[in-house]
């Protein structure tokens, strides 16, 4: 007997943003994310409270990935930030913090949401046009003929994640390795559509960071006790190693046992039949002069024994994520059946050798010319290793994005303050016809623009975690930091040394002023200049594409959330 229950009516929540619970949660989330930001950011321990694995991190990808939020408004926010992260890896915290700030600042304005929307869209387009113009004062072009700017980009990513627990020599070492690994993935001979290769991260946990290294080709871990140390491998007449790559299980179990029942007569062993089929494949591999067999899954021990007796190296459990680079590197097509073998599937390698790191043994597959490499990544403990891995992946991704658009933005808060002073300058000099187009008054425009600028500046301020003051200068519009403990009346030029990105030093009087605490009286100022010096070592740089997207995503998400008038919750 089943009991029917009446459906509950859906719950309507109007004007969700005006609810206390929502704004509390929003400011809590904003607080968590702001406290993570930058090289001095605070870390979060994510764990289940019952003695499980503890993830110590300050990266948005790790935090948002594990966080599940209760309110749909927050879900909208986290979802769009995560979407940004999945596309660009970098600038996740920037996007999330900016979005929270925009919501907070715009909400407090007494301007109709639709007007805010129009004005902010205009502001965004001002920003994007400026960032994409040659005149932009907060971007540098990346010269691929020298490594300096590339090193700066990678270093900035690594130093902004304090939970990696790297000291200065370790940062330098890894920075070089990551760049080296990236260089391996750039093809030497570029045809019409060049495809970047892949860098595979090989975990070696418990070792010193300085033990990390990068090798061309791929490493497959092996625990085989039969592998003799000097590896002898069968070669073809052209002195290459012929490779067969299997993506199907060769474990000898039934391949498709999902549905239905198989009925067999007593005395017939399906296992034996499968094994015989495998051994037939083995015979063909041997007669085709294959020197190396790699299987994504497991190879039956009997087949392994057979191959070994015929001097063919068999490697199994390569794993799904190695399959694509493997086939890219060897030029072989993954074989998906143990019944059909076409000789056209085979690929080739230059050499095979054995490498050992810590207590792990690997078979090193060395290609002819490589676009695939392995980064053997070491860090002392698990939680720091995981953080470092995420940082390295981000850095690789940033380099990939940069090769497509060879530009970088000044980091350390300077782009944010510079953009803010640019917008402040621009919004004063806008013609009356523009306001008419947007259907708003000059005051309204000024209000929204000020909120927008304050949001940008609050992102820069989030870099500061230990008290002290944040300044900006009126010449370049860069961001400067003064440690706590100094009286605020003293001459700023005595206290500042370098701006956030490191491009400007304290050499001329730049007319500093406090970044915060000038609400209501926006300073009328000239257009911020581009710094005179263009190339300096040890700049803090951000990925251009990622930051531009972050800016757009933050504004669009903020507008979407501000525009929410109802939340309809299905209670069944």
């Amino acid at each position: 007997m089943s009991r029917l229950e009446a459906k509950k009516p859906p719950l309507f929540i109007s004007e969700p943003l005006t609810k206390d619970a929502v704004s509390q949660s929003l400011s809590l989330l904003s607080g968590i994310l702001k406290s993570c930001y930058g090289p001095a950011g605070r870390l979060k321990q994510l764990h289940n409270g019952m003695g499980g694995y503890v993830c110590t991190t300050s990266q948005s990808s790790a935090i948002l990935g594990r966080l599940s939020v209760s309110h749909p408004v927050l879900s909208v926010l986290t979802a769009s930030v995560q979407n940004h992260i999945s596309r660009f890896s970098d600038c996740g915290l920037f996007t999330a913090i900016l979005c929270c700030s925009l919501i907070e600042n715009f909400k407090s304005l007494n301007v109709a949401p639709c007007t805010v929307l129009k004005i902010s869209k205009h502001l965004l387009s001002l920003c994007m046009d400026y960032l994409k113009s040659e005149a932009c004062g907060c971007r540098v072009s990346v010269d691929f003929s020298s490594v300096e700017t590339l090193l700066c980009l990678v270093r900035s990513v690594l130093t902004s994640k304090p939970a990696c627990m790297l000291n200065k020599p370790e940062v330098d070492h890894l920075t070089t390795l990551i760049l080296k690994a990236f260089m391996f993935t750039v093809p030497c001979h570029v045809e019409t559509n060049a495809v970047l290769g892949k860098c595979v991260i090989v975990p070696v946990k418990g070792r010193r960071v300085a033990d990390s290294t990068v090798l061309p080709g791929l490493l497959i871990e092996t625990t085989e006790i039969h592998l003799a140390n000097p590896l002898t491998v069968k070669r073809t007449c052209s002195n290459l190693v012929k490779v067969a790559l299997f993506c199907v299980s060769m474990a000898g179990d039934l391949s498709n046992p999902e549905e239905g029942t198989i009925t067999v007569h007593h005395g017939i062993s399906l296992e034996m039949l499968e094994l015989n089929q495998l051994l037939n494949i083995g015979k063909q591999l041997v007669s085709d002069e294959v020197g190396l067999v790699v299987c994504q899954k497991v190879i039956h021990p009997s087949l392994k024994q057979y191959l070994k007796e015929n001097h063919v190296i068999a490697l199994d459990r390569a794993g799904l994520c190695l399959m694509e680079p493997l086939s890219q590197m060897t030029g072989s097509k993954p074989i998906a059946s143990i019944h059909l073998l076409s000789p056209s599937c085979y690929g080739s390698l230059k050499d095979v050798s054995i490498e050992s790191f810590a207590s792990k043994h690997f078979v090193h597959l060395i290609p002819k010319d490589t676009v695939v490499c392995s980064l053997i990544l070491c860090n002392r403990n698990e939680t720091a290793w995981d953080e470092l891995k995420r940082a390295c992946e981000t850095a690789e991704h940033v380099l990939q994005l940069t090769i497509k658009e060879p530009l970088a933005l000044l980091g350390g808060g300077c782009t944010e303050t510079h953009l803010a002073s640019y917008i402040r300058h621009k919004s004063c000099s806008l013609s009356a016809s523009s306001f008419k187009d947007m259907d708003c008054s000059r005051t309204q425009y000024q209000l929204v623009a000020d909120g927008f600028c304050r949001s940008l500046e609050s992102v820069a301020c989030s870099l500061n975690h230990d008290g002290g003051e944040i300044l900006t200068d009126t010449v370049y519009g860069h961001c400067w930091f003064v440690p706590s403990g100094f009286p605020s009346v003293s001459n700023w030029s005595d206290l500042v040394s370098k701006c956030g990105c490191g491009i400007n030093g304290n050499t001329e009087n730049l007319n500093w002023r406090l970044l915060q605490g000038q609400f209501g009286s926006p300073v009328i100022q000239g257009c911020p200049e581009a710094p005179s010096v263009k190339v300096v070592d040890f700049l803090t740089l951000d990925c251009f594409v990622a930051k531009c997207s972050g800016l757009q995503v933050a504004l669009e998400t903020a507008n979407l959330i501000l525009d929410l008038s109802y939340v309809i919750e299905d209670q069944n």
Partner: protein, 707 residues
């Protein structure tokens, strides 16, 4: 939804307090004189005896996030080095406290982080001047061996558990398979010093598979060295002239026993330093752990003899296994060539049938059961087998498998099967009945070693077997204790499997106290790995607190010198200079506490206050002398540092220095500091998963914020 959030109070950082209180329990485990601890489980009233930071952490309740991270850090250090865990644990506690004090003084977190990690870096560079190469350690031995008094006093003081004198040049012969009894009374009357005689004999025992029971000459009974694998055979007379004791003994005894000993000299190594070196190095790294050191020296001597031709002086860890025998006194511990393991009495009976016959050996790298399939094999559950013409003659399916497996073993004339995993009990019984010895749970390294010398190829299934897979030339026998009697320890019997030329050595660890077993095994491996790492590093640190003292003096110098480091990152740089001296003092306090606690633990100081005074005295002297490292080096040479080294050899000032591992030590420091700084920089815990609901309803819910 699952997420709770707790602010870690900035000034009184909860995480750091947790670390500090966890580490407090490990204070007495620091240094060479450790006090053991009983850990009692209140719910079951069961207790365990622990004597290392690793086992302590394993037995503590670590549900807090900081506790988990501490556990992870200690485990990582153990996995990598097997030593330095107590140092790590202690420094975690000391630095947590020091950092908490910095927070009390309102030092910004970023200043603590950058100054401390720069400070540690600088120290690690500074203490490089206290490293000496392995070669120099050996040279030191050569120069000190000119003074025979050193060794005489040491060997005699320690009595029965005497040090193995590295001057005895021993060669081993592996081919003797039958136990031999060597009467010793014929020569022992020549030497009046019965104490010394004992020493020598048991040092011989340490060298080979043999242990020895030597009775004082006075009671006229026969002294016996028994053993089966290796026997000490010959002496290098030239070297032995350094010591009159050894030369007389050696000549009189060994020359008269030529027939029994079949000794041979396999050519003299070019550099005498190299060949004694490892034994001496093991001694300096042992920090007073006699039993383990004796075993390790035997292993080293054996491996060196094997490697003589290749000339390498490396320690091969993969060729060492341990076998724990409960119920024998600790003095029975010894090293046996080959593989010693425990089997059931039924299995042991098979050995009697083997006699001295060479065995055909089979290696299996999985389980030996009917159900076992190689890893990654998916059993399909939707296969139905139908039997059309049932006949009563056929037995059950299980018997079918048993019979066919047994047939395979018999047809290939296999006598001995070493299995990596489990063994089916029925098959085991049937094998015993057919005089086939099957041993389960054999490690990979052991299988490898047997595979190499017997040319057996490991298989996963017996059906894979062909003639090339089966090896030959193995011998099995009951393992015999030093007094020659075969051991029957109740439920399990130790047996020994050997093959001619097998590099495998088993350290048989014995104790009569069950709760000490784990402890003894841990200590043995710690020492083995210390030597291993020393050889890998190719250098060692001066021990006995020298390194820590130099760190202390270096940090104090840094604190006074107001050098502004040029940080390239303005977000980390600015606050550093102002608080530098406070933070560096905090870093220094870790080592200072370390030194004073070690001094208290080793009873070099009556109280921590006294210890601190002594440390301060040395620091001042070091600073006054202008070059602290020169001062420390000088004092170390004189063994005058902090009450004469931390070793137990207080009375033997000369010759026996204490050394530490380089990488293991600096890595322990770095890991400890990393952990403290990682926890320090954490400002919130985010709890996800089902625990969140419990928190919401619990009394501590006010501590949390919910998203």
């Amino acid at each position: 939804l699952p997420m709770a959030f707790r602010d870690v109070n900035a000034r009184r950082h909860i995480g750091l307090q947790q670390l500090s209180s966890l580490a407090l329990a490990g204070r007495t485990l620091l240094g060479p004189m450790k006090s053991c601890k009983f850990i009692v489980d209140e719910s079951t009233n069961q207790s365990t005896l622990i004597c290392s930071a690793l086992r302590l952490i394993e037995s503590l309740d670590l549900t807090s996030a900081a506790g988990q991270l501490l556990n992870e850090t200690i485990q990582a250090q153990n996995k990598e080095f097997k030593t330095g865990m107590s140092t790590l644990l202690f420094l975690v506690g000391a630095w947590s406290n020091a950092v908490l004090e910095c927070l009390q003084q309102n030092v910004p977190v970023s200043a603590i982080v950058s100054v401390m990690s720069e400070g540690l870096n600088s120290c690690c560079e500074r203490v490089q001047c206290l490293q000496i190469s392995i070669h120099d350690v050996n040279k030191e031995l050569c120069s000190s061996s000119v003074r025979p008094n050193t060794f005489k006093s040491v060997t005699c003081q320690i009595g029965h558990d005497c040090l193995l004198n590295p001057q005895i040049f021993l060669y081993f012969q592996k081919e003797i398979s039958a136990p031999e009894v060597i009467p010793m009374n014929s020569c022992s009357h020549q030497e009046d010093d019965c104490n010394f005689n004992k020493c020598l004999a048991s040092s011989l025992g340490g060298f080979g598979s043999i242990a020895s029971l030597v009775k004082p000459v006075g009671d006229k009974s026969t002294s016996v060295i028994s053993g089966s694998g290796v026997i000490a055979s010959s002496c290098n007379k030239q070297k032995l002239t350094h010591s009159r004791y050894f030369s007389t003994i050696a000549k009189s005894r060994f020359s008269s026993q030529q027939d029994n000993f079949q000794g041979y000299l396999s050519g003299q190594p070019a550099d005498p330093c190299e060949c004694y070196g490892l034994g001496h190095l093991a001694m300096t790294l042992s920090h007073g752990n006699q039993t383990s050191m004796k075993l390790l020296q035997s292993i080293v001597a054996y491996q060196q003899e094997r490697a003589e031709c290749s000339g390498s002086s490396q320690l091969n860890i993969a060729e060492i296994v341990t076998c724990c025998l409960l119920g024998l006194p600790e003095s029975y511990s010894c090293v046996s060539p080959g593989f010693v393991t425990l089997v059931s009495p039924e299995q042991a009976t098979v050995i009697k049938y083997f006699e001295d016959k060479p065995l055909r050996i089979l290696l299996m790298d999985g389980d030996l059961t009917e159900q076992y399939r190689h890893l990654g094999f998916n059993r399909s559950c939707n296969v139905r087998t139908i039997l059309e013409h049932p006949s009563l003659q056929e037995g059950r399916a299980g018997d079918l498998w048993l019979n066919s497996m047994l047939d395979i073993l018999i047809s290939f004339e296999v006598n001995l099967v070493l299995v990596k995993g489990k063994v089916c009990e029925n098959l085991m019984e049937r094998c015993i009945a057919n005089t086939i010895l099957v041993i389960g749970s054999v490690t990979r390294d052991v299988l490898c070693a047997f595979g190499e010398v017997t040319s057996a190829q490991p298989v996963t299934y017996l059906t894979q077997l062909n003639t090339s897979c089966v090896g030959s030339g193995a011998y099995a026998e009951l393992w015999k204790a030093c007094d020659g009697r075969a051991m029957d320890l109740g439920e399990l019997v130790p047996i020994r499997i050997k093959v001619r030329g097998i590099p495998l050595l088993t350290a048989v660890l014995t104790t009569a106290v069950a709760s000490k077993m784990q402890l003894i095994e841990d200590q043995f491996w710690t020492l083995v790995y210390r030597l291993h790492h020393a050889l890998n590093d190719k250098k060692v640190f001066l021990g006995g607190g020298a390194v820590e003292l130099l760190c202390l003096s270096h940090v104090q110098m840094l604190a006074n010198k107001n050098a502004v480091k040029d940080f390239h990152n303005p977000w980390l740089a600015a606050p550093a200079t102002e608080y530098k001296s406070v933070v560096l003092q905090a870093l220094a306090s870790g080592w200072k506490q370390y030194l004073s606690v070690v001094m208290c633990n080793t009873a070099k100081a009556a109280s921590e206050l006294e210890a601190c005074t002594s440390v301060d005295y040395h620091l001042k002297k070091a600073a006054d002398c202008g070059s602290p490292s020169a001062y420390i080096l000088k004092e170390f040479r004189r063994d005058d540092l902090l009450g004469g080294g931390f070793g137990p050899f207080i009375d033997h000032r000369e010759g026996l220095k204490v050394y530490d591992n380089v990488t293991a030590k600096t890595e322990a420091w770095r890991r400890a500091l990393d952990l403290v700084l990682l926890v320090l920089q954490t400002d919130a815990e985010i709890i996800t998963g089902p625990k969140r609901k419990q928190l919401l309803n619990s009394h501590v819910s006010s501590e949390f914020m919910f998203l």
